[in-house]
Symmetry: C2
Subunit: 362 residues, 2 copies
């Protein structure tokens, strides 16, 4: 659907709500700060596109010095390949004949495509699909405390690496992890043990990829890692501020919402519900923070409404028609709900970007 | 993005995952049962499109006897107007010059469009926009315990109705509520009191619209209501089963997901995360029920992964590549994440429908 998007320069408090808005200067500063830190510590940077799903923003990250991008789905990678990105890592076990065929087609046109595997079953599917004339790069995913996917021990990592290394159509590229926050020492130990096992088998392991925005500025605590992957850092959110990973001045995303009802003195209702903010709490007891409205709490969401409890607010309370600014608990899931997002500098619209990789299935 | 959608007749366990699939027979049965019940009790039925966002499914509801549809946004109503729907109620306070202008354009082309208002401020915006040559129908939204939008008392309802009635460009259509579940007696009392006040002012109130899937089959307990609005009933979900509003045999939506990792004997990881299921808990302690896998619990979601605890499962545990069927906690928010959904009969694909009204902003 095409909307009457705001002209460049329009004040953002005049645009349609609910709408996420991205502060250009904070975005640029977040990109620059992360890149400078990783450059200073000799780590390559591979941002995860999950947070913005936008080739334009990913290009800003590459322009600042990132070596490539990280996607989570084949179809996301296709969007970025179509936009000319040539170094793409898909951090996902690709399973099933249909997806493997699609992955093969993608590998034929992306100069540097890689995926992960964490079991013999996943490697077997890849090995049966790819051939030596156009091999696929594969990393072994390691569970270092995140308790999601990944081999459980360095021995298992070496065994899966061996399977990859032995497959004619696959090229063993390295190992990868997404640690539990604060797990630097565990990651370093896991990598070091795995490297020793691989060395004993004469299997080179050029890439050791560590990840996460919570651990971004702790990447130097994992000396064996060669690259770092982060998504959330680019916009940041309320959970990142709470954890001390950024300051409120680093929040590049806000959601603008309009007060549509004031049914009682202590209740306001906004036009931003779970279909805007999602119901991600991430440990908070409310669904986002309202900027410059001390004491207000978003106590419940229905699909298109947020109910705000104003009990602890002072006398200055918002009226129907007022626009408020919400700091989302979790930025990535908000992006995923919108087909477009509005960017601004100093509150004036600079561009409207499509969220091009949203809604992909494969 | 265009995908290689499955041919008609394809077994659904062969389609790409994660994907919501809709059982045609259960869908048809849910539509028929609700319509038959409301017909038997002399209530008009106005289904809410939030659950499917699909003109094709809404047409099935009209074909069964619904009088029109209920949307939550102007831009959703535009999608349905473009598809030929001629009786649309937008249950939202429309606020701000841009949205009011867009609403006026919509009213000029929809034979029977109506909105709600719950305050003098909202009525003033509408009254300043519409003129007597093309008046807009307006209902007063009443808070009967849902604690969201709505006037708080019958007296306030009558006062807002008077403002609407007095505006040359507005036509007072009636009153509307979305009650707290089980609030039939409160709704009946609120309507009866409001009708008495309106009668004393000689203001006709032809429509008394009650709502909610939880109270759908209790609609006969509100004799003063003339119509009922429901969304979720069309697909149903885990929360509806738990509350006793439907049985497991009435679940028309499942989400198909593939096991992509089995890192430990007690852990499986699925390719359906919060960007598929959402993090809506609705009082559950886990993120959806896995059909035919007793004891399995979806204990955590990341954006593209679900972690399943198999500790309480028997010896028969899923392997990498197996497809499982998830009953979502909340169906409406799942629909909102997908651009298309697959329909099937007896497990064979019947159609792929676009979720046409997803991603609308205005």
């Amino acid at each position: 659907m095409t909307y009457p998007w705001p002209d460049l320069g329009t004040p953002i408090n005049e645009i349609v709500t609910p709408m996420p808005v991205i502060d250009e200067d904070r975005l640029a500063a977040n990109i620059a700060r992360a890149q400078a830190y990783l450059d200073a510590h000799g780590k390559r940077f591979r941002p995860h596109i999950k947070t913005h799903k936008s080739p334009a923003v990913a290009q800003q990250q590459l322009d600042a010095g990132a070596i490539g991008i990280n996607c989570q789905k084949i179809s996301e990678a296709e969007v970025f390949a179509n936009a000319g990105f040539d170094d793409i890592l898909i951090t996902y076990n690709i399973v099933g004949a249909a997806k493997l065929a699609r992955l093969k087609a993608l590998n034929a046109r992306v100069p540097r495509l890689s995926v992960v595997a964490d079991s013999a079953t996943v490697v077997e599917g890849l090995a049966a699909t790819f051939t030596a004339d156009a091999p696929l790069r594969v990393l072994v995913e390691c569970d270092t405390g995140g308790k999601r996917c990944g081999v459980q021990t360095p021995q298992q990592a070496a065994d899966v690496a061996q399977l990859i290394s032995d497959a004619p159509g696959l090229a063993f590229e390295g190992i990868l992890t997404y640690p539990a926050p604060g797990g630097a020492a565990i990651v370093e130990d896991f990598i070091a043990q795995t490297l020793a096992l691989l060395e004993a088998r004469s299997i080179p392991c050029p890439v050791r990829s560590n990840g996460g925005s919570p651990d971004l500025f702790l990447a130097h605590l994992v000396p064996s890692a060669t690259e770092h992957r982060s998504g959330t850092y680019v916009y940041n959110d309320r959970s990142m501020v709470r954890a001390g990973h950024c300051t409120p001045d680093d929040l590049a995303m806000h959601i603008l919402a309009t007060v549509v009802s004031r049914p009682t003195p202590d209740r306001a209702v906004l036009d931003a519900g779970s279909k805007t903010l999602t119901s991600d709490l991430l440990g908070f007891s409310d669904y986002g923070a309202i900027d410059r409205l001390d004491g207000a709490r978003i106590v419940s969401l229905s699909e298109e409404h947020a109910v705000v409890d104003l009990t602890d607010c002072g006398a200055s309370r918002p009226a129907v028609g007022d626009v408020v600014r919400i700091v989302p608990n979790h930025t990535c899931v908000v992006t995923n709900l919108f087909d477009h997002m509005v960017f601004h500098r100093d509150g004036k619209v600079t561009r409207v970007e499509p969220v091009s990789a949203r809604g992909t299935v494969w």
